[in-house]
């Protein structure tokens, strides 16, 4: 999907520069006039749009003096508690689930570990007090069942989306904590697919802090900010600034932290582009 969008953009004349981290948005005469990169390069442009998360976009890229206090406060109050982790597992064979033994349609579908409402609620309770879930809710897929190129023949990749793994886990995320989290995930799967340990050949544990580091999202919140009613629609990312404009002329905002929020939709990007064109006189 990414390749297709990038290719479409290039075909229309867009240039994409990777390894080009933005340090600051350049402001001159009360307008955004370009971006200063971390490597010292400065680029000028008539319009700058941030597709990073709101905290970076408004508290890091731009000096606070360019925004009204109320706006800065609203962005500070914007909740970005990351709470999902990820465990990717490389397998030498398929997990055999006791509920549906043998290879079957479930291996091609979505596998949910959410046996009861109470189970899911208790998983959440742990996170409320700063711990990862002792018995986590999991959303598992085995993409190599669909895309055979992802693993050698007979081998598979199992992607486990895990809740809850709080960003600011009590005591912090160190190697031991990460290992314990991975182990919890595997022993949970083992209850449903007892052969899992025999087929594991490798695993990768990703915490919200890793998501923050890898994907550049403050708080490691996969939606660039929680999907809470009070920070959605005309209040995302801040009341009065949900139309992709920002208090800084020439500076636009069009990512998951904007209306209509996170998830792979492309809606924010599309609407932001439309609004930028409206202002283009």
């Amino acid at each position: 999907m990414t390749a297709a969008i990038a290719s479409s953009a290039r075909a229309l004349g867009v240039e994409i520069r990777t390894n080009a981290a933005v340090d600051k948005v350049i402001v001159r005469g009360g307008r955004a006039t370009g971006a200063a990169l971390a490597n010292g390069d400065e680029l000028t442009a008539r319009v700058v749009m941030s597709a990073a998360d709101p905290k970076r976009s408004f508290l890091q890229f731009v000096d606070q003096q360019h925004f009204p206090d109320e706006f800065v406060q609203a962005i500070r109050d914007f909740r970005v508690r990351g709470s999902s982790g990820k465990v990717n597992i490389a397998l030498s064979g398929l997990p055999d689930f006791t509920c549906l033994p043998g290879e079957g349609p479930l291996h091609r579908g979505a596998i949910s570990i959410s046996p009861s409402i109470e189970y899911v609620e208790r998983a959440y309770d742990d996170a409320k007090y700063g711990n990862f879930s002792r018995q986590p809710y999991m959303d598992i897929i085995i993409p190599s069942m669909i895309d055979r190129d992802m693993a050698p023949p007979g081998h598979h990749v199992m992607s486990c989306f895990v809740q809850y793994a709080p960003y600011d886990v009590e005591g912090g995320w160190d190697d031991a904590k990460k290992e314990a989290f991975g182990e919890t995930v595997i022993s949970t799967i083992e209850k449903y697919a007892p052969n899992i340990r025999q087929v594991i050949v490798g695993k990768q544990v990703i915490t919200p802090q890793d998501i923050e580091r890898i994907a550049g999202i403050t708080g490691g919140n996969i939606f660039h900010g929680e999907l809470l009613l009070h920070q959605l629609f005309f209040m995302r990312p801040a009341p009065q600034w949900a139309d992709f404009r920002t208090p800084l002329p020439g500076y636009y905002f069009g990512a998951a932290g904007a209306h209509p929020g996170g998830g792979v939709m492309g809606a924010a990007g599309r609407m932001a582009a439309t609004e930028i064109l409206k202002d283009w006189q």
Partner: protein
């Protein structure tokens, strides 16, 4: 009374308010109350043990407009004391004493010791809460439309004026109010203050009376709701207490020519061809009337008194889905007066996590190990409000858990007030099951272990995200849950008559969710414009 126009089932304060307004409008109103006394949850009670308790809660205030319009001052209702303190007992033995006023210097000084920044924000917070509560007050006296239909004059104008009121608050407050409603108490308080002690004290009020935790979405709304009902964080007790309120209302009903019969439990609301005919009492006596107003809770009214066979299946399902999770217990402790408790409303709500853990237990059918308590004193009497004591205990029943309830409450209090235990002379506890029996059990169910309805004293959980049932301004239909569903099914072109029962209206908390009962009186205004072929069945014309 012969040939009453209107029967009201239940003499709780909402039933009495509706009765007074209707009687004032010249209707012949008869109130039927199953208990020996009027007042509903505001009245005292005799427990199964034979012990009597003076009242179930310390305070309660009617909306000022009701006090005025029913002239309750003339009927003996006194005004409440303002600026009562709200006191949070802290783990270190200290007390955080808050007066819900923007310029109480002692309060600001007390907060300053926790956080100078918070002390600076307190006046703004109090101002905001008062304005938010005022907006809620306006919303509570606005009739809600029967969506999806909106009648321009009847619904549109009141709603537009409400929206205008919100808009007039100015951008900042408007957004704050809108955001606060769906927030959790933790989110709301953390936007204002950094001191967890202060936030937890406030969050206690937010979760008071609801089966939600301080981290649950919607407790921002319940904070504003309780702030409105209390006039701040603390209860404001009036002389005579809730009992005085009931007495004034009873006098207002009688003075306007209404009649109240106690010991008159309604067993059935009589319905024929979706038209209300009257009621049958438990004694077997039948009383005819073209309008019946119920203030029993929605489930009991519809499934118990009307009966599922009379209702559209979809509607029965919606009624069954109304959340009524009771989780409050109560202790009334008689002491020798040397209990050592301060005046005002005392809360045991030391940290946000403490409150949240107290709530967690109720999700799994347990009683809080370390409960959230709210305590008020009346001389030597100490009234303890205990959350969370879930009605539906999972591995125990309230018959055997009573000693444990008392122990946990008293131990928790003693931790903060060392003199308390030594001062105790007697303890009476009210479990959620007792509460249900006091405020009216569903008598058609075995008493031993009723599964349903559960005693939610707000008659259906008040939470921002829970749909509350509400009455129509016309008594021809009751609406619970998303009305459009059954309207489409049962009301095509309005020709089929009422979906539930014509002539049945609703005035309890399940209908209003609060003490605003004025509009329920208006709800019974006749006639509903309705095509009818049988004129003898048509409701009487309005006076």
């Amino acid at each position: 009374m012969t040939n009453p126009d209107i029967l009201i089932v239940g003499a709780g304060h909402n039933g009495l308010v509706a009765a007074a307004y209707l009687a004032k409008a010249g209707k012949k109103v008869l109130v039927l109350e199953q208990r020996a006394t009027a007042g509903g949850q505001l009245a005292g009670a005799t427990l199964a043990s034979g012990a009597t308790v003076p009242g179930l809660h310390p305070a309660g205030q009617l909306r000022p407009a009701i006090v005025k319009e029913l002239d309750l001052a003339r009927h003996g209702l006194t005004t409440s004391a303002a600026d009562a303190p709200y006191v949070s007992a802290l783990p270190d033995g200290g007390l955080l004493r808050l007066v819900s006023s923007a310029n109480d210097t002692a309060t600001i000084e007390a907060i300053r010791r926790l956080s100078p920044r918070d002390a600076g924000r307190w006046p703004e917070f109090v101002g905001f809460m008062n304005r938010a509560a005022a907006f809620l007050d306006a919303a509570y006296s606005t009739n809600m439309p029967r969506l999806p239909r909106i009648e321009l004059r009847a619904d549109g104008l009141p709603l537009a004026s409400l929206a205008l009121q919100l808009r007039r608050m100015g951008g900042k407050d408007m957004f704050r109010v809108m955001r606060s409603l769906s927030m959790s108490a933790v989110e709301l308080t953390e936007e204002w203050f950094e001191s967890e002690t202060l936030n937890a004290a406030i969050a206690g009020v937010a979760i008071h009376g609801v089966t939600l935790g301080s981290m649950s979405a919607g407790t921002g709304f319940t904070l504003i709701h309780n702030w409105l009902n209390r006039g701040g964080l603390a209860h404001r007790t009036s002389t005579g207490g809730p009992q005085g309120l009931t007495e004034a209302l009873v006098k207002a009903v009688l003075a306007n020519g209404g009649e109240i019969r106690t010991g008159a439990g309604v067993a059935q609301i009589l319905v024929e061809h979706q038209r209300v005919l009257g009621v049958r009492l438990e004694s077997g006596e039948e009383i005819k009337a073209s309008t019946v107003v119920s203030e029993a809770d929605p489930r009991r009214t519809l499934l118990g008194l009307v009966g599922a066979p009379e209702l559209p299946p979809e509607f029965v399902w919606q009624t069954q889905s109304i959340r009524m999770r009771g989780s409050v217990a109560k202790l009334i402790v008689r002491t020798d007066g040397r209990h050592g408790l301060p005046d005002g409303t005392v809360a045991i709500a030391p940290t946000l996590r403490y409150l949240e853990r107290a709530y967690d237990s109720t999700k799994y059918g347990e009683m809080s190990q370390d409960p959230y308590l709210e305590v008020t004193t009346l001389g030597a009497d100490v009234m303890v409000h205990f959350q969370f004591a879930t009605y539906a205990l999972r591995n125990a029943d309230w018959g055997s858990m009573r000693p444990e309830l008392e122990k946990r409450a008293l131990d928790t209090l003693a931790l903060h007030f060392p003199a308390f235990k030594g001062s105790i002379q007697s303890v009476q506890s009210i479990t959620p099951v007792d509460l249900e029996q006091i405020v009216g059990p569903d008598r058609r169910r075995p008493q031993s272990r009723p599964a349903d309805p559960r005693p939610d004293f707000l008659h259906a959980a008040v939470a921002g995200l829970v749909e509350s049932p509400h009455p129509d301004r016309r008594p021809v239909s009751l609406r619970f849950g998303p009305a459009w569903r059954w309207r489409h099914q049962w009301h095509p072109g309005s020709q089929r008559g009422a979906p539930v029962a014509e002539g049945l209206a609703f005035c309890g908390l399940g209908g209003a969710t609060r003490c605003e009962a004025k509009r329920h009186a208006a709800a019974a205004r006749w006639p509903p414009p309705r095509p009818t072929t049988d004129s003898s069945r048509a409701p009487p014309a309005s006076g």
